[in-house]
């Protein structure tokens, strides 16, 4: 899959933003007034900024509002509803904390649940695709949610929770890579089933339909990025989990906290780039590529 920057930024930052909103909604940290304002501002910049970035890859962004109509069948539509629901409820909850010094717990808890539901629906957009075996597994939502919670805990300054969640997120990520590497082969889809010609003999893509490129190749067949995938996995895991865990184990200061957050974000961005670049869409089989 083509690793479009808009989608990488969207999934990374909305994941972090909604992760932070989850902890704020549950009252960790139990802040009010201008401190609360600062926390909520960071969460909203990330969550809303991520959602805005996602509209950049649309062919017709001016019609984006229509994406709210198909919640019965479409995970993308469900994501839109969960995101707006979470942002509205958490906005009301934040309003109480910042301006009225009041904790409207019901809004907070519901907002926290909807924040996680948003991350879950985002992950289901990818998980539902049988055409991309590397994404089509239960580990995908687990990975998105564990990383969102880890990043959220880190941003919320919940050091103990962050330590545990970072390690869980890292382990889920490693397991996803191990299982993902086997996914295409075990999906049963290959050039023989794609063409139905496997009964005659060994099928090989001989000539593509066109001399140039096309939308399908540019969107779905991205083989360049996989060249350094092993090195990038190590870098991603190091920045995302190992460095923040070491930093958090040190005596806490704000500088160490900021460094841990910066490292974690850089790691998640790298991992998310790999999530797209390494994903093989079965349509590549028709072109003799994967």
């Amino acid at each position: 899959m083509h690793p479009a920057p808009s989608v990488i930024f969207f999934t990374t930052f909305s994941g972090l933003g909604f992760g932070l909103l989850f902890f704020l909604g549950l009252g960790f940290p139990a802040v009010t007034g201008w401190t609360a304002f600062a926390f909520f501002a960071i969460a909203y910049v990330m969550a809303v900024g991520g959602l805005m970035a996602s509209t950049f890859h649309l062919g017709r962004p001016e019609r984006a509002i229509k994406a709210f109509t198909q919640w019965r069948s479409s995970w993308l539509s469900r994501e839109a509803w969960c995101a707006v629901g979470a942002l509205v409820l958490m906005g009301l909850y934040g309003l109480g904390l910042v301006f009225f010094d009041a904790r409207w717990t019901a809004f907070g808890i519901l907002g926290a649940l909807l924040s996680m539901a948003t991350v879950f629906t985002t992950s289901m957009i990818y998980t539902q695709l049988k055409t991309i075996p590397r994404w089509n597994m239960k580990l995908t939502p687990l990975k998105f949610m564990s990383l969102s919670l880890a990043g959220g805990a880190l941003l919320a300054g919940q050091v103990d929770a962050a330590l545990v969640l970072l390690v869980i997120g890292g382990l889920v990520q490693i397991y996803t890579w191990v299982e993902g590497d086997k996914a295409l082969a075990s999906s049963g889809t290959d050039v023989a089933s794609a063409t139905g010609l496997g009964g005659i003999g060994t099928v090989r893509a001989f000539e593509p339909p066109h001399t140039g490129t096309n939308y399908l190749l540019r969107e779905f067949v991205h083989v360049i990025g996989r060249k350094h995938s092993q090195k990038l996995r190590v870098i991603a895991l190091g920045l995302m989990t190992i460095v923040p865990v070491i930093l958090l184990a040190l005596p806490f200061s704000h500088i160490v906290g900021v460094l841990a957050i910066a490292s974690h974000i850089a790691g998640v961005l790298t991992a998310r780039w790999l999530f797209f670049a390494e994903a093989e869409h079965v349509v590549g089989l028709y072109y003799g590529k994967r």
């Binding site: 995970w75 000539e207 339909p209 066109h210 490129t213 028709y286």
Partner: protein, 249 residues
């Protein structure tokens, strides 16, 4: 609504004969010609006259080489590919806006372009690469089964079939109702063992592909063989004497 109909009245689709297709790409051109100036947005090209040119097509012809077991000759099979109008079309259910839908009356999968936001998710969900996002219009394009031809009473009756079928010079493309057991296309599928592409993806394609017929066996036999003298392994007579003599020198 982007939920799929439980049942469609007809299952209109194509039957493509891989035994007959000669790979001329006439269907590709007639498809682009008809569909760029009729239903929906035109099929644009980018840098059409430059080195790095590409464009939107609803039908593309791949070529595959198949090497049978043993030393039988390899076969080259031309393979036209367009939307298969699947019964369980994954492209329809992922659509967040309701732009993609499957028609109850004939099973054709269409895009209502004025509702399409160009998110591309339907193209991600399609295993066959049947959908392409038009780079000029920003909306998803796909085979309409020439919905503006097949019911068009302004056209002569022989033209009321998809442009690709109408133009195929080899007769490798057939159009009809695959939901009707007695239709010509259904009979053809039954007779020739029509197959689904990527059945394991669970899409239940309506379009069927007819596999190439088995090739004739070429006997291991040369008509001149009986007239040829076998080559002597050991030289005899004068040459044998010469050979031995030269060896001794």
């Amino acid at each position: 609504m982007t939920t799929l109909p439980a049942k469609t009245e007809k299952k209109l689709g194509l039957v493509i004969d891989l035994d007959t297709c000669v790979g001329c790409h006439a269907c590709v051109i007639s498809c682009k010609g008809w569909n760029t100036e009729n239903y929906g947005a035109p099929l644009s090209d980018q840098n059409a006259y430059g080195a790095d040119n590409y464009g939107t097509f609803l039908n593309r012809v791949h070529s595959f080489e198949v090497q049978p077991e043993g030393d039988a000759a390899a076969q080259l099979i031309h393979f036209p590919k367009s939307c298969l109008h699947c019964e369980d079309a994954p492209c329809v259910t992922v659509c967040p806006t309701g732009a993609s839908y499957k028609r109850v009356e004939d099973g054709i999968v269409l895009v209502n372009e004025s509702n399409c936001i160009g998110c591309g998710l339907c193209a991600w969900a399609c295993p066959y690469g049947a959908r392409e996002l038009d780079q000029a219009e920003g909306v998803m394009k796909k085979c309409t089964l020439c919905v503006d031809r097949i019911y068009n009473e302004n056209l002569p009756e022989e033209d009321r079939q998809p442009a690709c079928v109408r133009t195929c010079p080899a007769g490798a493309r057939h159009f009809g109702d695959l939901g009707d057991e007695n239709s010509d296309v259904s009979k053809l599928v039954a007779e020739r063992g029509g197959m689904d592409l990527m059945p394991e993806q669970g899409t239940k394609p309506v379009n069927k592909y007819l596999p190439p017929r088995p090739k004739d066996e070429m006997p291991e036999f040369d008509v001149l063989a009986p007239f040829l003298q076998p080559v002597a392994e050991e030289p005899k007579g004068f040459l044998g004497w010469l050979d031995k003599t030269l060896e001794k020198l």
